[in-house]
Symmetry: C2
Subunit: 434 residues, 2 copies
C-alpha cells in the first residue's frame, strides 16, 4: 500500500481549495474538477507558477479515483492552463504573474538616508543577527512543549526572572519576576496602563510632557482618556504644573532623559513628583526608553526604585536590539497587577513565547550586556563626531541632550533657519526632524 | 593603549547600576563605591552569584581611577560581600539566592493531562521546531536592515504576498497582499475590528453566536460595544434572528465549523447573512479558526470569496503551528483598511518583523503545507480512535462536529450524566470541557 503511505503523502502534497459546485451532481466529476480549476485560474485566485497537488494527493483529498484527476489535468494541460514540469510537478501556466495586486501596496515611505539622525531611531544594521539566531536555537532546543501552548499573559517565567535580575543589576530597579509583564513594546504597554486605569479609576485624564511623542498621546486618547500637558524646561517636566493640570489617573514622564529635549528631571522635582502621586493616588509611568545609552556623568537611578507602589516602570528592546523585534516590559505596582494582566489577555493573550525565550537566553548568556556595551561605544563615537563637526562649523547654535541617548536637540535661532537647515540635511541625505 | 581597546572592553563588561549618593562629595570615592555595592547587596537588588564588572570596566564607567575600584572590591571581599572567582571574575557572595520573589509567581494552572481533549487546543508537542529554526535562519540571513526598523503596521510585504497566494490557493479566498493585515492572533484581530468600527460607525453593537467563546465577548465589550446574540442550531447561526437582534456594526460568525458545536452554516443562511450585511451596511467577521483541518466531505468555501466588500476574514496560526507563536491575519474589505491599519499602529505598531519573515519563509518553502497535511492526518487518526471507542462503549450518546476541526461535542442526556462523565475523564487524566 505505497499509495497511502502517510509520510510520502504528507511530504509531497500542497493544499488546494477547489470549488466543485455542489448540487450539480449530474455533471461528471472530471468536468467539475476541470471547471473548478479553470475558474480559479481565470479569476486570478491561482496565479501563474502556483504548484498544484500531485494527482494522487488531490484524488485522495477529493475522495475520487486518481484516474479522474489525471484526466482532468491532461485536459487542462492540453488547453494550456497548466503544465507538467519535470521535478517540480504540475504548475499553473496561464494568467497574471504577480499575485493580484501586491504591486498596489503603498509601501511605507522608506527613504534611504545616508545617515539617519531622526530621533529615537536606533541603527537597524546593528541588530545582532548571529546572537539572536543562537538564542532562538537554544530556546527551541530547551523549551518544554507547554511553551508552545497558551501561555501566561504576564509572560514566560524564564524571561521575567532573567529580566528582573538584569534590571536590578544594570538599571537599578528593585523588583522580582512577578512584578514584570512582558509586552510587545512601549506602545502596547502604555495602552495597557491607560485601559487598566480606565477600569479601576474614575478619573479619565492622563497627563503627559509637552513636548512628547504624538503617537503616545493618540494611544492614551484611544483608551478613552482626556490629555493634560506639563511643560518641559531645563529641569525636565515642570512638576508644579501637575497640580494645576487637574485630577489625573497617571502622568507619563521620561525622567532619565526627556524625549526629545534630552534633559534629566531634577532631583527636587523627582521627589515632588512622587509626593504628588502619593497624595493623589495617581501613578507615575516612567518611560525609560533609552536609559541604557549614557555616555558621560553618573547614571541616574530610576524613579521606580524610589517608590515601587506608585511607579509603573516601562522599558523596551526597541532601542537596544531593534524596533522590528516587538518586546517591551512593565514593572507593575502591586495594585495594578491584576488589571494590567487582564488587559494584556484581552489585547492578545500574551507575547510570542518563542521571542520571549530567545530574549531570556540573550540575557542569560550575557550577550545582551555585551551588545549594549558595544552599541553604547558606537553611538558615543557618532555623537562625538557630530558634536565636533558642529563646533568646527562655528554655527553659534546650542546643542542639548548630549550626555546620553539616541538623539540630540539643536536649538536654532528662528523658524526660517530651521527650514534652511532641514532642507540642507535632506539634500545631503541626512535624516533629521524639526 | 590596551586599556581602552573597545573590543576587549565591550566583550568583558557587564552593566552595573551603582547609586553613588550624589551630593556627598566630601566622602571618598572608594567609600562611596563600597557603600553603593553594600546597599545593593543588602537590599536584595544584587543577589548571590551576580557577576560584577571587571575593575577596569567599572572604573571606566564611573570615570574614576582603576585603583579606586580595586581597593573597594578588596575591602568588600575582605568583609565577605563579594568574592573573586578564577575564570569567572568577581561575583556577589552574600545574600538571598533566588531573585527576590520569583518563587511567589502564581504559575498558571498547568495540569498535565495524559490526553488533552479540551476544545480548540492543538497538540503543543507538534510544533515544527526544526522547520521553524530553519525559517528563522533563512529570514535572518535574507532580511534587509530595514526589516529591523519600524515596519509597516499592516505587516511585512513579503509575508502578505506569500500568505495571500496561500490563502487563495488553499482556502479559496480571492485577495491580494494589500488586503491583508498581520496581527498577533485572532484576539488582537477581533479587537482591531471592534475598535475600528467604533471609530467609523455610530452603531455600538456587535452580534455574536450563542454559544461562542467568552473571551471573544470580553474583547468586543472592551472595545465599547454592546453584545447581541444569535442562537446556533443544526444549520449554524440562526441568521433570521439577526434582524431581530437590532442594529449592529458587525456580526462575528464561525461559518465553516461553528465553535464549539462543529456545525457548518447552511448555504441558504450564508446567502441570507450576506444579504443582511449588504442591506444594513454591516460587516461579517468570518472566524476561520481551524478551517485547515477537514477530514471528510468537501471543503467549504469561505464567505469572504462570496462578498469581499462585506466580509472580514480572520485566520490564525494558533491551530496550525501553535498558540505560543502569536500570528494571525485579517483579509480586510477595502473600506475598513485605513481604520484597521491605524488601530494596529495604536495597538503595537506592527507584529514582530522577524516572526513575520520566518512565517513567510515557511509558506514559501512549502513547509507550512506539509506540516498542515501531517497534522491533519494525525488529528484524523485521533478522531477515529475516539469515535470508535465511543461506539464500542455503546453509550447511546450523540456526537457532533466530527467532520473537521480540533474538537467534538458529545451530547449527554442530562446535567448529572455530564458531571459523572467529566469526573471520570478527569480521574483518567483526560482533559475535557463541559
Amino acid at each position: 500500500m505505497t499509495n497511502s503511505d502517510p509520510q510520502e503523502w504528507s511530504n509531497r502534497g500542497v493544499d488546494l481549495f477547489l470549488n466543485l459546485l455542489p448540487g450539480e451532481h449530474s455533471r461528471g466529476l472530471r468536468v467539475r474538477i476541470e471547471d473548478g480549476l479553470r475558474d480559479a485560474i481565470r479569476g486570478g485566485r491561482l496565479v501563474r507558477g502556483t504548484r498544484l497537488p500531485p494527482t494522487r494527493a488531490l484524488a485522495r483529498d477529493l475522495g475520487v479515483a486518481r484516474r479522474t484527476v489525471v484526466e482532468a489535468y491532461s485536459q487542462l494541460a492540453a488547453e494550456g492552463w497548466i503544465a507538467g514540469r519535470r521535478g517540480s510537478g504540475t504548475v499553473v501556466a496561464f494568467g497574471a504573474t504577480p499575485p493580484i495586486d501586491a504591486g498596489s501596496i503603498r509601501e511605507r515611505q522608506r527613504v534611504r538616508w545616508r545617515f539617519d539622525l531622526r530621533p529615537g531611531r536606533p541603527d537597524p544594521s546593528s541588530f545582532p543577527r548571529q546572537e539572536w539566531l543562537r538564542a532562538v536555537r537554544q530556546a527551541l532546543t530547551n523549551a518544554p512543549d507547554e511553551a508552545f501552548g497558551v501561555g501566561d499573559p504576564a509572560g514566560e517565567l524564564a524571561l521575567r526572572a532573567e529580566l528582573a535580575a538584569y534590571l536590578n543589576r544594570a538599571r537599578g530597579l528593585t523588583i522580582g519576576a512577578s512584578d514584570l509583564l512582558i509586552s510587545t513594546g512601549f506602545t502596547q504597554g502604555l495602552g495597557l496602563v491607560a485601559r487598566a486605569l480606565a477600569t479601576i479609576d474614575r478619573r479619565r485624564r492622563i497627563t503627559i510632557e509637552e513636548p512628547s511623542m504624538p503617537h503616545h498621546r493618540d494611544v492614551i486618547r484611544e483608551a478613552g482618556h482626556e490629555l493634560a500637558l506639563v511643560r518641559v524646561d531645563r529641569g525636565g517636566a515642570d512638576v508644579e504644573q501637575l497640580e494645576q493640570a487637574g485630577e489625573a489617573a497617571a502622568v507619563v514622564v521620561t525622567p532619565n532623559r526627556q524625549h526629545p529635549t534630552g534633559v534629566a528631571l531634577s532631583s527636587g522635582r523627582r521627589a515632588r513628583l512622587l509626593e504628588w502621586a502619593r497624595a493623589t493616588g495617581a501613578y507615575v509611568v516612567e518611560d525609560d526608553y533609552d536609559g541604557e545609552f549614557r555616555y558621560e556623568g553618573r547614571p541616574i537611578g530610576p524613579l521606580q526604585g524610589l517608590d515601587p507602589r506608585h511607579v509603573v516602570y516601562a522599558g523596551t528592546a526597541s532601542k537596544t536590539l531593534a524596533p522590528g523585534i516587538r518586546l517591551g516590559w512593565l514593572a507593575m505596582p502591586e495594585p495594578l497587577r491584576a488589571a494590567l494582566t487582564r488587559e494584556k489577555e484581552l489585547a492578545d493573550w500574551h507575547t510570542s513565547a518563542l521571542e520571549q525565550l530567545a530574549f531570556a537566553e540573550l540575557l542569560r548568556s550575557g550577550m545582551y550586556d555585551r551588545h549594549i556595551r558595544k552599541m553604547r561605544l558606537r553611538y558615543r563615537r557618532r555623537r562625538d563626531a557630530l558634536l565636533h563637526a558642529i563646533v568646527d562649523a562655528d554655527l553659534g547654535v546650542e546643542v542639548m541632550g548630549t550626555a546620553a541617548g539616541l538623539n540630540l536637540l539643536i536649538l536654532l535661532p528662528d523658524a526660517e533657519t530651521e527650514d534652511r537647515v532641514l532642507a540642507a540635511t535632506r539634500a545631503a541625505g541626512v535624516g533629521a526632524a524639526a
